[in-house]
């Protein structure tokens, strides 16, 4: 009730505040639990982007098909590949590359694009992260419809190991989460980061075997182990081509996942409460 005197209990001890680690963990847990929130936000993002267009998000699919056909016909000859097999290789490679690369570039905007919300409403920061990841999963789903067609047309015999793409995609999604937090925080703090990341992704497209076969590197092929983006593509692409991923691909991916999650979590613990001041 109304209190005219000096504040009561001002000398009262407060219960200790939760540690930054506990707070960061709670942020992740509570944000992840609000799947209804970030999934609708992501859906709304896509809906708004294509409002008024007849084909809507399937424009993504179409532009992907155009790119595949254009690159496919030319490069199959350049690399002396059999066209059908190469188109399949290229399709899966581009679809996964599109997912991975746009997670990285979109990740820069994780907190910057939510600037207004962050400064007005208290929500777990991980809600904004999942929104970005979910949005990219929706785009992936639109692009992925091409894959079964190509598989049927070029009749590849796939084995049971094709099921490994399920954990592979799950791991890629987890990596999307830490990447969005990491580049999202860096971009909020240092505004030069988004163009740097953009540049990096552009270069990475050409130095990663997305549209060129890894064997084309000749005796340099083993050095691909240094490129985790290749591992990310390989674990999904190889099973769909009826082959096994290179032996080190899974290990590279798992190491990157563990290191990325641990490192990003440490940064998130340290700087989470500063994000609102940065954006």
């Amino acid at each position: 009730m109304l209190d005219q005197q000096a504040p009561r209990s001002a000398d009262l001890e407060l219960p200790p505040s939760p540690s930054p680690t506990a707070a960061a963990w709670a942020d992740l847990v509570e944000g992840t639990a609000r799947s209804w929130m970030w999934s609708s936000m992501a859906m709304q993002d896509i809906k708004l982007r294509y409002r008024g267009s007849v084909l809507g998000p399937f424009w993504l699919t179409i532009s992907m098909v155009v790119m595949i056909v254009a690159i496919g016909l030319i490069y199959a000859r350049l690399f002396n590949q059999e066209t059908g097999r190469y188109l399949l290789f290229l399709t899966i490679g581009l679809v996964i590359w599109q997912f991975v690369s746009s997670l990285i570039t979109d990740g820069c905007q994780t907190f910057l694009s939510a600037q207004h919300v962050i400064s007005q409403v208290c929500l777990p920061f991980s809600v904004h992260v999942w929104r970005i990841v979910c949005r990219n999963l929706i785009v992936l789903a639109h692009n992925a419809v091409i894959v079964p067609f190509v598989l049927v047309i070029f009749g590849v015999s796939i084995g049971w190991n094709v099921l490994t793409i399920i954990p592979a995609l799950a791991i890629l999604t987890i990596n999307g989460v830490w990447v969005s937090i990491l580049v999202g925080m860096l971009s909020a703090r240092y505004r030069d980061v988004p163009p740097i990341v953009m540049n990096f992704v552009q270069v990475a497209f050409f130095i990663t075997p997305v549209f060129w076969p890894p064997e084309a590197l000749g005796h340099w092929t083993p050095y691909l182990v240094l490129n985790p983006l290749f591992a990310a593509i390989d674990v999904v692409r190889a099973p769909l081509l009826g082959a096994a991923p290179l032996p080190y691909s899974w290990s590279v991916l798992l190491v990157v996942t563990v290191l990325g999650c641990a490192g990003t979590f440490a940064l998130f613990v340290k700087f989470r409460s500063r994000i609102a001041y940065w954006v």
């Binding site: 009730m1 109304l2 209190d3 005219q4 005197q5 000096a6 504040p7 009561r8 209990s9 001002a10 009262l12 407060l14 219960p15 505040s17 609000r34 209804w36 929130m37 609708s40 936000m41 709304q44 708004l48 409002r51 207004h116 919300v117 962050i118 400064s119 007005q120 409403v121 208290c122 929500l123 703090r189 240092y190 505004r191 030069d192 980061v193 740097i196 409460s273 500063r274 609102a276 001041y277």
Partner: protein
């Protein structure tokens, strides 16, 4: 039981000058080790709140007054959990809703109906629950056939009515509110006022920043006068208003 406990809370904003917040500067700063002092002077800190110790209990309707730049909005944001204080401790219990900018979460490209759901999400309200309020919101805001049109086609008055109707359809336990009634046009003012009165009445704790002494007297049972980030008065409404007037004449 909803409550707020603030102990020696301070908030300091880093102002990154346009040139500071770049990697170039950071890299340069590392390579010019002797330059530490100047590098530090490049980064300005603004002390927005200094050493605030406050308690708020169930039933408190706290009016927050003070001249522009006194730190009212910053204090609201600390209470809402948006800013973690840079010094001191905040302890709160109860589910807090902040209503700082009525238009947050509204998207001009989306339809009125979509915006109701969207705005609800930013208030942490599930779409299922929001759908139950659609009819009532439409009636209050007078949207009628515009409900399924993009909000950008609305008149300014209609948009603000929608914003108010949506923001006030759920009774929050703890309400943190910045005054934005001034954005409402005359004809609508009375209805908005009544709705807000009900809205405030339904909350356990209300913290309202305002410039209107009329609203302060009507809606609040205690008041805090802030000036330059410090508490000047923490007591009754009359006490705070007197001190506020004394402060403005002194300046």
């Amino acid at each position: 039981m909803a409550s707020f406990r603030l102990r020696n809370v301070s908030v300091e904003f880093p102002i990154y000058q346009a040139t500071y917040r770049s990697l170039k500067k950071l890299v340069l700063a590392f390579s010019l080790q002797g330059d530490r002092a100047r590098e530090d002077s490049d980064r300005i800190h603004v002390q927005a709140l200094t050493d605030l110790t406050l308690d708020m209990e169930e039933g408190d309707r706290v009016g927050l007054i003070g001249p522009n730049g006194a730190g009212k909005t910053t204090l609201l944001k600390v209470l809402a959990g948006i800013y973690a204080p840079t010094g001191g401790q905040v302890h709160s219990s109860g589910k807090i809703s902040s209503l700082l900018d009525v238009k947050v979460g509204l998207n001009p490209e989306a339809t009125g109906r979509e915006n109701i759901i969207l705005r609800g999400m930013y208030m942490d309200v599930h779409p299922r629950e929001m759908r139950a309020h659609v009819d009532e919101i439409v009636a209050f805001a007078g949207l009628g056939p515009h409900l399924d049109m993009p909000v950008r086609t609305y008149s300014a008055g209609m948009a603000i009515r929608l914003a108010i109707a949506v923001s006030t359809c759920i009774r929050p336990e703890v309400l943190i509110m910045d005054e934005w009634l001034s954005a409402v046009d005359e004809r609508f003012l009375e209805r908005a006022h009544r709705r807000l009165g009900d809205f405030i009445g339904g909350s356990n704790i209300v913290v309202l920043a305002t410039h209107s002494m009329t609203l302060l007297r009507e809606w609040c049972n205690r008041a805090i006068l802030l000036d330059q980030g410090r508490v000047v008065v923490n007591g009754s409404v009359d006490e705070a208003i007197d001190a506020y007037h004394a402060l403005s004449t002194a300046q």
